[in-house]
C-alpha cells in the first residue's frame, strides 16, 4: 500500500514536474510564435489577427525568395566543404593510423575547437581574411601581390570558409562513429577476393559510411542555415541569410509577425531536413541488417 502510494508520488514528481516545465517554457513559446506569425503589423505594434499575409509576403517578394534560396545554397556548400575536409581525415584516422593513442589524440584535436568560443572563431577569420588582415599583409610582405586582395572577405566565399571552419567537427564526429563500426572482416574479405583498394572503398567503406555522412550533412546544414553571426561579420552586403532577416524583424524593423512567419518557415525546413535524414538513415540501417 505505502509502496504504491510512494510510487505514485514519485511518478508525480518525476514525470509531471518536467512535463509541465517543458510545456510552459518550450511548447507555449513555440505556440505563441506560431500565433504571432498570423498577426497583423501596425508599425511599430502587432495586433492579433488571423491572416496569412506574412507567409505570402515571403514567397511573393523576390528579395525574400532570393534570401531563402541563398541560405539553402550556402548551407549546402558549407556541408560539402566540411565533408571534403572531414572524410579523408576520418578515413585516415580509422583505417590508416595504427596506434590507438595517436588516433585518439588527433580525433580529440579535431573536436577541441568546438569548445573554443564560437564568436571568437568567426572573429579570427575576420582578422585573417580582412583587407588589412593577416593573409593580405602577409602576401604583400612576401611580395606575392602589391595591393590587398579585396575579394577575400565580405562575400559568400568568406562565409562558406568561415562556417566550414566552424562546423567541420560536427562532420567528423558522426563519420568517425560509423567508420569505426564497419567490420574489418568485410574490408579484408573484399581484398582477399581480389578487389582493389579503390573498389573496396567504393563498394564497401563508402556505402557503409552513408549514415554517418547523412548525420554530418544534417548537422552542418542545420547549423549553417540558422547562423546569423558569420554572415554579419564576414558576409558583406550580399550575404544576408534568412536568420539575418529574422533578427532584423525582431530588431530595427519591428515586424514581429513577419519575423515569426520566417522563423516558422525556418523551423519547418530544419525539421523536414532532420526527419528526412532520419528516415534515410533508418532505411540504410535496415538495408545492412
Amino acid at each position: 500500500m505505502r509502496y504504491a502510494r510512494r510510487r505514485r508520488l514519485e511518478f508525480a514528481a518525476l514525470v509531471s514536474a518536467p512535463v509541465i516545465w517543458w510545456v510552459v517554457v518550450l511548447l507555449v513559446p513555440y505556440i505563441i510564435m506560431l500565433m504571432i506569425s498570423f498577426y497583423r503589423t501596425q508599425f511599430p505594434f502587432h495586433v492579433p489577427d488571423f491572416q496569412i499575409a506574412n507567409y505570402l509576403k515571403i514567397f511573393a517578394e523576390s528579395q525574400y525568395v532570393t534570401i531563402l534560396l541563398r541560405s539553402l545554397k550556402i548551407s549546402i556548400f558549407v556541408s560539402i566543404v566540411t565533408f571534403a575536409l572531414a572524410y579523408p581525415l576520418t578515413y585516415f584516422l580509422v583505417f590508416k593510423v595504427r596506434s590507438p593513442r595517436v588516433r585518439t589524440i588527433i580525433y580529440v584535436a579535431t573536436i577541441v575547437p568546438l569548445w573554443v568560443s564560437y564568436l571568437l572563431r568567426v572573429y579570427t577569420w575576420k582578422i585573417v581574411l580582412g583587407t588589412e588582415g593577416i593573409l593580405n599583409t602577409f602576401l604583400i610582405w612576401v611580395g606575392v601581390v602589391n595591393e590587398p586582395i579585396e575579394v577575400l572577405i565580405y562575400n559568400q566565399f568568406a562565409m562558406v570558409i568561415t562556417m566550414a571552419y566552424i562546423f567541420t567537427p560536427f562532420m567528423v564526429m558522426p563519420i568517425y562513429a560509423t567508420l569505426e563500426k564497419i567490420p574489418r572482416s568485410l574490408i579484408e574479405g573484399s581484398k582477399d577476393l581480389g578487389v582493389g583498394s579503390i573498389g573496396t572503398f567504393l563498394r564497401i567503406t563508402l556505402p557503409l559510411s552513408v549514415p554517418g555522412i547523412l548525420v554530418g550533412f544534417t548537422f552542418t546544414f542545420c547549423f549553417s542555415f540558422g547562423d546569423f553571426i558569420s554572415p554579419r561579420l564576414v558576409g558583406g552586403p550580399y550575404s544576408n541569410m534568412i536568420s539575418n532577416v529574422i533578427s532584423t524583424q525582431f530588431g530595427q524593423a519591428m515586424d514581429w509577425p513577419f519575423g515569426s512567419a520566417l522563423s516558422m518557415i525556418m523551423l519547418f525546413i530544419v525539421l523536414a531536413v532532420i526527419t528526412a535524414s532520419d528516415r534515410f538513415e533508418r532505411a540504410g540501417r535496415l538495408d545492412l541488417g
Binding site: E10, F11, A13, L14, A17, P18, V19, W22, V25, L26, P29, Y30, I32, L85, P88, L89, F92, K96, R98, P100, I106, V108, A109, V112, W115, V116, S117, Y118, L119, L120, R121, Y123, K126, I127, V128, G130, E132, I134, T137, W141, Y165, R184, K191, D192, S197, C222, F225, G226, D227, I229, L233, S243, S247, F250, W256, S263, M266, V270, L271, I274
Partner: protein, 287 residues
C-alpha cells in the same frame, strides 16, 4: 582493433597473402596524412593567429609583427565594461547550469524510467532546442516573455540558456541511465531503501560522469552563447554580446587578449573533462 590483429599469436593472420605492394599503401597513407595535416592546420591556424596577435603591439592586426607586449591584457583587465560583462557571463552560466541540472536530470529519469502518454512527443520536444537553430529558441522565448509582459534582463537570458541547453544534460544522462542495470534500483527498493536515498546512493554515482561532462559543456556553451542572448538580454551585456558589439565597431587587439584568456580557460576545462571522462572509458577497455 589493429593492435589486436597484430598481437594474435596464431599463424593464420600472417599466412594471409600479401595484399598490396608496399608503395601503394605508402602513397595513400602519405596523401591522407597530408590532407589530415592540412585540415588540422586549417582548424588551428586561426586560433593560433588570434593568440599570437594578442601579444603583438601592432594596433592593426597585420604582418610583419611588431614588438611583444602585454598591453592588450592590461587594457582588457582594466576595462570596467569588459569586466562587468565577464561577471554577467559567469552569473548566467552558473545559473543556467543550475537550471539545466535541476530540470534535465529529472527529465532524463522520467524518460528512462516511466511510460506515460505522449512520451514520444515529449522526448522529441525536449531535444528541439539543440536540434533547431538557436535563433528560434531566442525568438520564441522573446515572444513568450513579451506576451507575459516580462522585462528583459539577465534573468530572461538565464531562463533562455536553461531552456536551450538542458537537452545536453538530458541526452547525456539518459544515455547513461539506459546503460545501467535497472535491477540494482529494484534491489535497493526491495531492501527497503527510500527512493531519495536510492537516488543518492545508487543512481547518482552511476550517472556522475555524464553529469560532470554535460555540465562542463553547458557551462562553456552558455558562457559563449549569442543567438539566444541576442534576443533576451536587457541592458546588461554578457561577454559574447560585449565582444560582438566591439567587433562591429572595429577590431581591437583587446579582444585578442580576452579571447586568448577564454581559449586558455576552455582548454583547461577540456583537459579536466578529458581526464575525468576518457580515462575511465580507456581503463574499462583495457581490462
Amino acid at each position: 582493433m589493429a593492435t589486436l590483429d597484430r598481437d594474435l599469436p596464431s599463424g593464420a593472420v600472417r599466412q594471409r597473402p600479401r595484399r598490396r605492394p608496399r608503395s601503394d599503401r605508402d602513397l595513400s597513407y602519405r596523401a591522407l596524412a597530408v590532407v589530415t595535416g592540412c585540415v588540422l592546420a586549417f582548424l588551428y591556424a586561426p586560433i593560433a593567429t588570434l593568440m599570437i596577435f594578442s601579444f603583438n603591439d601592432n594596433k592593426v592586426m597585420r604582418l610583419p609583427f611588431g614588438d611583444w607586449t602585454l598591453q592588450w591584457y592590461v587594457k582588457a583587465f582594466t576595462n570596467p565594461q569588459l569586466l562587468a560583462a565577464v561577471g554577467n557571463s559567469l552569473i548566467v552560466a552558473v545559473c543556467a547550469l543550475a537550471i539545466c541540472l535541476a530540470i534535465g536530470i529529472p527529465t532524463a529519469l522520467a524518460l528512462s524510467r516511466y511510460d506515460f502518454p505522449g512520451k514520444t512527443v515529449f522526448r522529441r520536444l525536449v531535444i528541439l532546442p539543440i536540434t533547431l537553430p538557436g535563433i528560434i529558441t531566442g525568438v520564441s522565448m522573446l515572444s513568450f516573455f513579451s506576451q507575459l509582459g516580462v522585462e528583459l534582463s539577465l534573468t530572461t537570458v538565464i531562463l533562455g540558456h536553461g531552456t536551450a541547453f538542458a537537452a545536453i544534460v538530458i541526452t547525456s544522462v539518459y544515455a547513461r541511465l539506459e546503460r545501467f542495470d535497472r535491477r540494482i534500483i529494484e534491489a535497493s527498493a526491495d531492501l527497503g531503501v527510500t527512493p531519495l536515498r536510492t537516488f543518492w546512493k545508487v543512481t547518482l554515482p552511476n550517472i556522475k560522469t555524464s553529469i560532470i561532462g554535460s555540465s562542463l559543456l553547458v557551462f562553456t556553451l552558455s558562457f559563449d552563447e549569442i543567438p539566444v542572448t541576442f534576443f533576451l538580454t536587457g541592458r546588461d551585456n554578457t561577454l559574447p554580446m560585449y565582444i560582438w558589439s566591439a567587433i562591429r565597431r572595429g577590431i581591437t587587439p583587446e579582444i585578442n587578449a580576452i579571447g586568448t584568456v577564454i581559449i586558455a580557460v576552455s582548454i583547461i576545462l577540456i583537459v579536466v573533462s578529458a581526464v575525468i571522462l576518457i580515462q575511465p572509458a580507456e581503463r574499462r577497455r583495457e581490462r
